[in-house]
């Protein structure tokens, strides 16, 4: 099994899940900063030109963060990374889809890649400001919905928390935000996990 990731990208969430599972896996850096994700070698693996992508032992490639996270959790039930009853499973997907499908592309892509939105460079500050405003709104909504302590779901730690982690990492890092109390506790609890520390250390190399 091989994870294709870009340091500091949303793929850190899948990287953490693989570390939590603890089975051997390989990693390959595909930097989205230098455009490696658009080179033919990578497009042959994932024509969507995105990370994360997971090359499985049977040679098939799985893409889309929620699908990869869900599959890894299901394929490794002993790791307890997703609930076994479907109501909580649906809530886990609901969190991941919101974080990966809305919060990431709408709030943070605006801030980190304003050129994807505005064609005119002079408009970029407005796009960034809009991204920051959206991030504030999303973070407030998330804070009001956290059901566990410190985890997102009252049922305990899950792959949804690993998706939350890449968002809080960006918010407190490049986003320059101060997290509200529950999210700050969530982020601190994630940073205390050995699996998170191992993934961060590998990505910093």
């Amino acid at each position: 099994m091989k994870l294709f990731y870009s340091p500091g990208a949303c793929s850190i969430g899948i990287h953490v899940i693989l570390e939590e599972i603890g089975k051997p896996f390989e990693t390959q850096v595909v930097s989205t900063r230098d455009g490696s994700n658009r080179k033919p070698e990578y497009l042959a693996i994932n024509p969507k030109a995105k990370v994360p992508a997971l090359l499985r032992d049977d040679g098939t490639v799985l893409t889309e963060f929620p699908a990869i996270a869900w599959w890894l959790a299901k394929a490794n039930p002993m790791s307890n990374l997703i609930a076994v009853e479907f109501e909580t499973e649906a809530r886990t997907l609901e969190w991941m889809d919101y974080l990966c499908g809305t919060v990431h592309p709408q709030a943070f892509t605006r801030q980190f890649r304003p050129g994807n939105f505005a064609k005119d460079a002079e408009d970029e500050p407005r796009v960034i400001a809009q991204g920051k405003a959206l991030a504030e709104g999303y973070i407030a909504l998330i804070e009001s919905r956290i059901a566990g302590q410190p985890w997102l779901l009252s049922s305990g730690y899950s792959v949804a928390d690993c998706a939350m982690f890449f968002i809080t990492g960006w918010a407190t890092g490049r986003g320059g935000m101060t997290l509200p109390p529950k999210l700050a506790a969530h982020h601190a609890a994630m940073l205390a996990r050995p699996a998170v520390q191992r993934a961060l250390a590998r990505e910093a190399k």
Partner: protein
């Protein structure tokens, strides 16, 4: 159970799944053009101001297309909307997430709401062109995913609902030429009695 939908919006996919499931539900029209999604009556139900939104019989609310689709499939097993293996379930999630988060939210939204992307009106055409590029790339990926199979996960499943609504938009609204496998999938979907009932209810047929 109540489904909040807007005619011809992405909620069409969930509407189809509920109709296929055999569940008793109340389709509740939300007029997005009049901004009903931003009114307190609705934001108290779904603070994200989006459709589809599903209010279950116990009064709890589920959001996010993928999470709702998965929940319906798990809740009504007799309808066989849940693929049989984890592998096929992951394929259904992958196609759903891609259709919703990329083809719809990155492609279609650029074409229909360019002002949400670029602040300058002068950029609108460039934004729309980028949206079309994302849309066509998305259809090409779906075409590849459907190679040699009738439905996304082999047999009909929850994973066909999101590809269906983005294909419906491509055919009926964008007037795009559908790739071969996507066109065959669309025809198969339109031949299903549940799809026909929903299209009639939403005023689309």
């Amino acid at each position: 159970m109540k489904l909040f939908y807007a005619p011809g919006a992405c909620s069409l996919g969930i509407h189809v799944l509920l109709e296929e499931s055999g569940a008793v539900f109340e389709p509740t029209l939300l007029n997005l053009r009049e901004g009903a999604q931003f009114k307190p009556e609705f934001t108290s139900i779904n603070a994200k101001s989006k459709v589809p939104t599903l209010m279950r019989d116990d009064g709890s609310v589920l959001t996010e297309f993928t999470a709702i689709a998965y929940w319906i499939a798990a809740k009504y097993p007799a309808a066989k909307l849940m693929p049989a293996t984890a592998e096929a379930q992951a394929a259904a999630l992958e196609a759903t997430d891609y259709a919703v988060a990329t083809i719809h939210m990155q492609g279609f939204s650029r074409m229909f709401r360019p002002a949400n992307f670029a602040p300058s009106e002068a950029d609108a055409e460039a934004v729309k062109a980028r949206g079309l590029e994302i849309y066509n790339k998305g259809l090409a990926w779906l075409d590849h995913a459907l190679e040699g199979r009738d439905y996304i996960a082999g047999d009909f499943s929850f994973g066909d609902a999101a590809p269906f609504y983005v294909t419906f938009w491509a055919a009926a609204r964008l007037k795009l030429e559908l790739p071969r496998n996507v066109a065959a999938h669309y025809a198969r979907m339109l031949a299903r009695p549940a799809v026909q009932r929903v299209m009639a209810r939403e005023g689309l047929s």
